[in-house]
């Protein structure tokens, strides 16, 4: 089955007078690893909580796996996994009891997979949850969510406060199951997810400022530097050139629709006197900054 696993349309949510989501249109394609990026307070957790029907009172529409979120019930929950930073857990249970507690709720619970995850995570099953580190608790939460083979898994800032080793194991478990699951992962840090996310969306001021496939982002952005014999700022440049800055004999800009041949031709036309042109691929972080600035400017 293809299509979108999550669809929100003009989703609005406010807490008192504070508007958190202001017309969010989010589409998460089936099979994707979708990274929802935004600073703290941008509304990422609110979005995920609405999707899980943990927060009521939204306006607009939001659906997961074809069901409107406010109607999500047990049969829906059996197909969705959810792990949130610092989520509440029954502290007096041991890790083993916690897993045993959840097992009967999920018809699809796969004991072999549960064991595989426990092995990978080296989880101490006899220890009480309150005595476990933050990383261990997150790993138990992930193991209990992956064990029933959910079609969709929502992860709310899962890496926050985890040490690099735990983060690595967490990612490994996630990727080992990524072929059969759609993953929506929220994060304030792009670097955490850039190697494995397939799609990325930027949430700011209650809206999705942009949403795109990672591969196309890195393909279409280039930082270009033109060295000239004398200072020259062209009166008009293509609309796809942004962040143009000019120094004494250097013009620098970001081409947002890079295409080797076409861009080279445009540069020759606009700077016939160029003595050198350097084209550099851009790190995702710089691409992001460029897009975020453009979005804010347009707003």
């Amino acid at each position: 089955m293809t299509g979108n696993v999550i669809v929100t349309h003009q989703l609005r949510m406010r807490f008192g007078r504070h508007v958190v989501l202001d017309g969010l249109d989010l589409q998460v394609p089936r099979g994707s690893i979708y990274a929802l990026i935004g600073s703290s307070g941008a509304g990422k957790s609110t979005t995920l909580q609405i999707l899980m029907n943990l927060l009521r009172g939204y306006q607009g529409s939001a659906s997961v796996l074809g069901v409107e979120c406010s109607h999500l019930s047990a049969s829906g929950y059996a197909r969705i996994g959810y792990v949130a930073e610092g989520q509440e857990m029954p502290d007096t249970m041991t890790a083993g009891e916690y897993l045993a507690h959840w097992r009967p709720f999920y018809p699809g619970w796969d004991v072999a997979r549960e064991r595989e995850l426990l092995d990978l995570f080296r989880l101490p099953l006899d220890r009480k949850l309150k005595h476990l580190s933050r990383g261990m608790r997150m790993k138990i939460a992930l193991a209990s969510s992956l064990a029933y083979r959910p079609e969709l898994i929502l992860l709310d800032e899962p890496f926050s406060g985890l040490d690099p080793l735990v983060r690595d194991e967490f990612t490994e478990a996630l990727l080992a199951h990524a072929e059969e699951t759609t993953i929506l992962i929220s994060s304030h840090d792009l670097a955490e997810i850039e190697s494995f996310a397939s799609h990325v969306g930027f949430l700011d001021e209650g809206k999705l400022q942009f949403s795109e496939e990672m591969a196309s982002l890195s393909r279409r952005f280039r930082e270009i530097e033109v060295t000239l014999e004398a200072a020259f700022l062209p009166p008009k440049v293509p609309g796809s050139w942004v962040r143009t800055e000019a120094g004494a004999s250097v013009v620098r800009f970001v081409e947002t629709q890079w295409d080797g041949e076409r861009t080279a031709r445009a540069i020759r036309e606009i700077f016939p006197q160029a003595c050198e042109v350097t084209v550099r691929p851009m790190p995702l972080r710089s691409i992001f900054v460029t897009l975020a600035k453009a979005a804010r400017k347009a707003a």
């Binding site: 099979g31 690893i33 092995d119 990978l120 690595d168 990612t171 490994e172 990727l175 080992a176 990524a178 072929e179 190697s195 494995f196 996310a197 397939s198 591969a215 890195s218 393909r219 050198e276 350097t278 550099r280 691929p281 851009m282 790190p283 995702l284 972080r285």
Partner: protein
């Protein structure tokens, strides 16, 4: 069942900008031509590549397809994907893999106004320095 981490027989230093998929293909080709992966050796599965390199399974799948299409890998029924038998890698093929780095070196050197002799001398120094006891082979 033992709980081992699959070893990926090549390293990838991810560089910003270039598509991940191309970078992994490049690293795998280098390993193949350098003999770190020999004909008949099993090639990592999509899942093993994905989890070990922390890349999207679709990216890993694309890498595998690309190498299969180029005839560097083959599918052996019952075994999986293995490194294909092939004529000993030619010098030309090995050379090809360095083109990008060489071009970059030349560009940087020209920007700095170095001469070809100076670059060759610098290159020679590094060659000797990294050779250890290998006698320049």
């Amino acid at each position: 069942m033992c709980n081992h981490t699959p070893v990926i027989p090549f390293r990838v230093q991810f560089q910003p900008g270039a598509p991940l998929y191309e970078q992994v293909v490049y690293a795998a080709k280098k390993a193949l031509l350098a003999g770190q992966l020999r004909p008949g050796d099993p090639f990592p599965s999509v899942r093993a590549m994905s989890t070990a390199l922390k890349i999207n399974p679709n990216t890993a799948h694309k890498v595998q397809q690309h190498l299969l299409n180029e005839g560097l890998l083959e599918v052996k029924p019952g075994i999986g994907t293995v490194v294909a038998k092939r004529p000993a890698s030619s010098r030309a093929a090995k050379n090809e893999l360095l083109q990008e780095e060489l071009e970059q070196l030349v560009v940087e050197a020209k920007k700095l106004g170095l001469t070809l002799d100076e670059v060759q001398a610098a290159l020679g120094n590094h060659w000797v320095r990294l050779d250890g006891g290998n006698g320049g082979k």
